[in-house]
Symmetry: C2
Subunit: 306 residues, 2 copies
Amino acid sequence: MPLSEFTLIYRYFSALGRGEAVDLSVGDDCAILHLDATERLATSVDTMVEGVHFPADSFPEDIGFRAVSAAVSDLAAMGARPIGMTLALTLPEADELWLHAFSQGVAAAVAEYRLPLVGGDTTRGPLTITVQVLGALPATQALLRGGAAPGDELYVSGTLGDAAAALAFLAGDWRPPPDHAEYLLDRFNRPRARIALGRELLGRASAAIDISDGLLADAGHVAAASGVKLLIEPALLPLSPALAAHPSRQQAIQWALTGGDDYELCFSLPAGETAPAGCTRIGRAIAGSGVDCGLDVDMAAGYQHF
Amino acid sequence: MPLSEFTLIYRYFSALGRGEAVDLSVGDDCAILHLDATERLATSVDTMVEGVHFPADSFPEDIGFRAVSAAVSDLAAMGARPIGMTLALTLPEADELWLHAFSQGVAAAVAEYRLPLVGGDTTRGPLTITVQVLGALPATQALLRGGAAPGDELYVSGTLGDAAAALAFLAGDWRPPPDHAEYLLDRFNRPRARIALGRELLGRASAAIDISDGLLADAGHVAAASGVKLLIEPALLPLSPALAAHPSRQQAIQWALTGGDDYELCFSLPAGETAPAGCTRIGRAIAGSGVDCGLDVDMAAGYQHF
């Protein structure tokens, strides 16, 4: 007898539903959560499709972890505290081994972000994972895209281009040494959303966004929302040792500028503000519009779903 | 040049994002909503896949309206006030005509339920629609599945089996007269979630659920969560004139018992409580477990995704 969706959901996910803000978890028509009286709700949704957002031969553990991280990254970019998520899973068949492995990856992300899974839906169809995240924000604060002003300095967290380099390695386009390859694959498969950094930036950063579609594309959203021009200096872009070791520095910079999926934060600080540890200044805001990095970059290499 | 996902989302959906509880809508990394200080958050997620949850030749307007209604129905079943939703749309291609029509259906649902669309994600892949709904509940009240007690009376809203009869008509299994066919198709394509009824039942009903998988299946969830046995009398099931006119009463009752997609509410009231208008008593709760309708029903005819 085929497993019913209820059996699937309860068997694999109901243990992941406990959390501080959760009054009622998986098992009724809705989950119920509470916020503190002075908090507001932040919410975002993110879908991953097999063959579009991850290679068809990805490990289910990685698919689960990465799908949650990608959604949580939007909470980080707002400076929100994670309180819960729902997961809508469309599966070609009820494959218990696959589901078990996938649930391990989701469980790792639940632990990493202290983000309980409070609801879900399982349907039959082509493999698609949609994660909706819920977070809490102080009543009067949020990191928005629209606050950068001329004179502000532009920063990013971590290193850029690693996930794009990993995909190029998987496609056979280059062959890094084994330890570099392992590092890059981990960056693609197990991105860490910058929740702690986002909360540290609340009240300090004038604008912020997470880099999911590539630095130039995402910085473009900040420039447009803020009504400024962003100047980015390619020489300042932080590259991992693995990426810096690529034989073509031009290729490495291209990935750092246009590769998506790193889930680092890009943010602006008023001049003179000290950036948090692990962040690198990459440029600044001036009057004008758009993003200028002084290079003729192939933007099509950046990620576009259509 | 293909449309980017941002262009798609902004063109069709950004006008639907205003609402009382919405502080920041589509356009940043997250939406921001607020609850009243005495309220809690109710949330649920629902996915519809082409060819599984709706026929492949459905009108995009109907797909949009119905996907939202199915998700909103879970808010109704908790007694929650809708405050916002997000929509994750996976599309085979960026078809502007399809998107325009689909957005009309979503817009009709936004108006029907006063439920602003505050966030979304558009990806390329097989047609899949995931709607996450957000609602507000009083701090100390919710309609749960687990509160029915022996002696309570069991009720449903509206009429049952219409959506299943519509699907049978579409499959060519029977041929109702044109006005009945039109009514039944409207019931399948444009289900109305029972938000007002849910809020009316808050503090009165001992248990409630929405009927999305079929009366017997969903009543089974109430019975299990409440630790009671539910007796359902087939002769009491409310049938629409269109369904009552079916040549086989046995078939009509079968659809009413096992057909999904009607999105009516099934709820229990303590004996002596008067039911709201438009609701019908169909049975009662006694000590025991499971659901008994006195018939040998083919449960496989009820909806199971796997």
